[in-house]
C-alpha cells in the first residue's frame, strides 16, 4: 500500500457508497499486491494478466460480502486463491486430457532431440529461446540427465507439472525444427 492512499478498508467502504475514484484506487492497489502472489504460481505474465482480470471481476461481483469492518486483504486473497485454484484445475485438466507419454512425444519427433544426430548442444540456441522455466527443465533433463522426478524435486514443482512443461517445450521445438 502506498502512502498516498488511504487504507483498503476505508477505500472499500467509500466504494460501497458509490465512490468511483476510491473504488478504482482500491482495485489498482489490489492488483498490485496480488500480482507477485500470482506470478509466483503461474508460468507466464499473460496468464497472470488473464487471471488478474478474472479476480478483479470476482471482487467486483462479491463486493457486497465485504462490509469494511474486517481486514480487506484476507478477503481479497480468499477470492484470489479461489480463482487461482479454479484456473489451475482447468489448466491441468486440459493438459492432462491432451497429455502424451513423453516417450511417445520423443518418438514422434522427426529426429529425437536426445539422439546423436540432434543433441541438446546442437539445438541449444532454440532451447534458450523457450520460456526460462521450460528451458531450465530441458537443460536438467537432457544435458544433466535428470529424471522428471529429480527435476521436480530440484525446482519445487510436481512431477506431472514438469512433464507437462517438458511436453509443451517439445511441441514448440518440434514446430520450430520441422519448419522448412
Amino acid at each position: 500500500m502506498t502512502g498516498k492512499n488511504e487504507n483498503f478498508e476505508a477505500l472499500m467502504q467509500q466504494a460501497l457508497k458509490g465512490d468511483m475514484r476510491a473504488y478504482a484506487a482500491l482495485l489498482r492497489e489490489t492488483s498490485r499486491f496480488l500480482r507477485p502472489f500470482l506470478a509466483k504460481r503461474l508460468n507466464s505474465a499473460a496468464e497472470v494478466d488473464d487471471l488478474m482480470q478474472e479476480i478483479l471481476i470476482s471482487i467486483h461481483k462479491a463486493r457486497h460480502t465485504y462490509d469494511g469492518g474486517r481486514p480487506y486483504k484476507p478477503w481479497a486473497y480468499a477470492i484470489a486463491r479461489f480463482r487461482l485454484r479454479d484456473h489451475l484445475r482447468a489448466h491441468y485438466a486440459d493438459h492432462l486430457r491432451h497429455a502424451v507419454e513423453l516417450s511417445g512425444v520423443e518418438n514422434g519427433l522427426s529426429e529425437s532431440v536426445t539422439n546423436s544426430a540432434m543433441t541438446y548442444e546442437s539445438i541449444r540456441k532454440e532451447i534458450e529461446k523457450l520460456p526460462p522455466r521450460q528451458a531450465a527443465i530441458l537443460k536438467m533433463m537432457h544435458q544433466e540427465g535428470s529424471t522428471a522426478r529429480e527435476v521436480a524435486e530440484r525446482i519445487g514443482m510436481k512431477e506431472s507439472a514438469v512433464k507437462v512443461a517438458a511436453h509443451r517445450a517439445y511441441r514448440i521445438l518440434r514446430n520450430k525444427l520441422e519448419r522448412p
Binding site: R21, T65, R70
Partner: protein, 211 residues
C-alpha cells in the same frame, strides 16, 4: 493503458451504491428462527410422540436431542459463514460442526450401549428416511437460495453443511414425532442416511453455489 487499467476503469464506472450483506450471525439467527417456527408448525400438524414427557426423563434421549439441536445451530452458523469468501474471518466457527458431529456420534454410541435389552424395532424403515428428507426440503431450498446471493469460495463444503442443517430439522422433527425407542433403528434409518445426504450436499453445493 494496459488491460488491467482498462478493466479497473470499467469496473469503477459500475461502482453504484451497494448494500453490504448482513453479518453472518444475523443471517443464521434468521434461518434458525424460521426453521424453529417451521419445526413447531410441522409438529403441531403431525403431532408429538405420545410418550414425549416420559422420554424427557431419559438422559440419553435428552442428550441426543440437545446434540442434534447443537448440530443444527452449528451448521446454520457455519453455512452462513461459508457464504462469505473469507468465512468472515471466523474460520474456527465455520468448522465447528465437525466437533459437534463427533460429540453427537459419541452420544449415539453411549445411547446404543444403554439400549439394553434392545428396544423392539419399529415396523418403519425407509419411510423414516423419506419423511426426514421431505421435511428437510423446504429449509434446504431456503438456505441454498439465501446462500446463492453471496459468494462462497468453499461451495462444496457449504452445500454439505447447508444440507446437513436442513436434515437436522427433519431428524429433530421425527425424533419428537415418532413413537420409537430403538436406537439401532434411529442410527440405521435416521442418522446414517442423514450423513449420506450430507455427502450429496457436496455435489449440490458445486451445482448451486459455484459462481
Amino acid at each position: 493503458m494496459t488491460n488491467i487499467d482498462e478493466l479497473v476503469e470499467t469496473l469503477a464506472r459500475d461502482a453504484a451504491v451497494v448494500r453490504p450483506a448482513p453479518h453472518p450471525f444475523m443471517m443464521s439467527v434468521k434461518w434458525m428462527g424460521a426453521a424453529a417456527i417451521y419445526l413447531v408448525l410441522t409438529l403441531v400438524v403431525t403431532g408429538l410422540r405420545p410418550d414425549l414427557m416420559s422420554k424427557l426423563h431419559d438422559p440419553w434421549f435428552v442428550a441426543e436431542i440437545a446434540a442434534l439441536s447443537a448440530i443444527f445451530i452449528a451448521t446454520s452458523l457455519s453455512a452462513a459463514l461459508l457464504s462469505f469468501p473469507d468465512l468472515h474471518q471466523k474460520r474456527w466457527v465455520a468448522f465447528a460442526p465437525a466437533f459437534l458431529l463427533a460429540l453427537f456420534l459419541l452420544i449415539i454410541f453411549f445411547s446404543w450401549n444403554a439400549d439394553n435389552p434392545p428396544a423392539p424395532l419399529p415396523p418403519d424403515t425407509y419411510e423414516c428416511t423419506t419423511c426426514i428428507v421431505l421435511v428437510a426440503l423446504l429449509p434446504a431450498a431456503w438456505i441454498f437460495f439465501s446462500m446463492r446471493k453471496y459468494a462462497s469460495t468453499h461451495y462444496r463444503l457449504a452445500g454439505g453443511i447447508a444440507l446437513l442443517s436442513a436434515l437436522s430439522i427433519g431428524a429433530l422433527w421425527l425424533r419428537l414425532h415418532e413413537l420409537n425407542n430403538s436406537i439401532a433403528h434411529v442410527i440405521e434409518w435416521h442418522y446414517l442416511p442423514m450423513i449420506g445426504f450430507g455427502i450429496l450436499g457436496l455435489w449440490l453445493g458445486r451445482v448451486i453455489l459455484k459462481w
